[in-house]
Symmetry: C2
């Protein structure tokens, strides 16, 4: 039987790039607040026995997000996030027991149970695992306004969430990291702490919804799925 | 007055990832073959005085692509592409005069005249310029099935097309490159030849349509634009 695990669902972001003038997790998409979709997936994964929902400091937004998660079938522990992603994860870790924990961005509503399963299995075996997909664009390193280096694209991967870790290992990585570093994700923190991170196949559809047209894309995808 | 330029429009790709079982440039999107959209943009840029359309070897597909480009208002020189992207560009370069040439993937229908203008101006000044956008995901370098290195995301950019170059400089870069290298784009070839490549701001909307849901996204965006 699959090992039980916890999850931290990050819903504290401002959503500035969405231009919606509101908390990202509450932006309506296909008739639901964005966070509802990620919460509904988590509610359908039996091995995830504890969910910590990280919400913004604004109490009205926090209440609405928690209500949406409950409507999606979750019964989460709700904690208040911080200014940076890593502060929010740290806050969530405070409510997590020992064992494996998956950290997920609420803005990726198409991470499904199968993807969670792959990541949790790999983290159970190795301590740290993240989903990754090939990089579609050519990615370059810059110096000023010129290209400094073109890394071999076949050796690049775009890392997604959910990312899963042994909770103690992740806590130690957060404690060890330079406090001034605005780490983009937990994999970066764990790698910086010198720990190996296993890659498992991600999913092309598991995009982070960032721009207004991403919402349109998601709605189109849902509509196509319903008719298909 | 802006300097005159040529453009190479690459429409020789197979579109395997689209699963449409047909040439990518001919996949219908919002009522037109995909290539129509990129061709229509080029037709509306007066400084681009010569367009070389690179088509697949299959004569039926080639004819249909050329017809779509003409319907969009282009009067292109049509040449047959090769197995790899670089072979197709090389074929296109054979039909290009001296001066600045923009190389563009037909699968990016949302590169607009303003973006072409930025890239062409920068290439006129510096010899080589490409549009680039910040990278939304965490991109890592791998070794086996583990993360080997996490480059600083603030120094990464995703490179798009159109990419513009002095045609002679681009020809020399193609000739100098290791013949076995399946270079992902022309910027990579030019950097490998030791030439500086200027970066100009790309556009978030200027995505390469790769997966079936990208088509849905593009159609949603067109629909939103029409109603807005």
């Amino acid at each position: 039987m699959a090992r039980e695990a916890s999850a931290i669902l990050l819903a504290a972001g401002a959503g500035t790039r969405l231009g919606a003038g509101r908390t990202k997790a509450l932006v309506p998409v296909a008739g639901r607040p964005l966070v509802w979709w990620s919460a509904a997936v988590l509610a359908g994964i039996p091995r995830i026995v504890r969910v910590v929902l990280v919400v913004p400091g604004d109490p009205v937004a926090a209440d609405d997000i928690a209500a949406a998660a409950r409507e999606a079938g979750l019964d989460p522990v709700v904690v208040c996030g911080g200014a940076r992603r890593r502060d929010s994860v740290r806050a969530g870790l405070g409510a997590v027991e020992r064992g494996i924990v998956a950290v997920h961005d609420a803005a990726r509503p198409l991470a499904d149970a199968e993807l969670y399963g792959r990541v949790l299995d790999a983290a159970s075996a190795s301590g740290a695992a993240v989903p990754a997909v090939p990089v579609a664009d050519t990615v370059v390193e810059i110096r000023g306004d010129e290209i400094a280096r073109v890394p071999d694209r076949t050796r690049l991967r775009a890392v997604q969430t959910p990312q899963a870790f042994d909770a103690e290992l992740l806590r130690r990585a957060h404690e060890a990291a330079d406090p001034g570093w605005d780490a983009p994700d937990d994999a970066s923190l764990v790698v910086a702490a010198g720990t190996a991170v296993r890659l498992v196949p991600g999913a092309a559809a598991n995009r982070k919804l960032t721009w207004p047209e991403d919402m349109t894309w998601f709605e189109g995808r849902l509509a196509a799925g319903r008719s298909g």
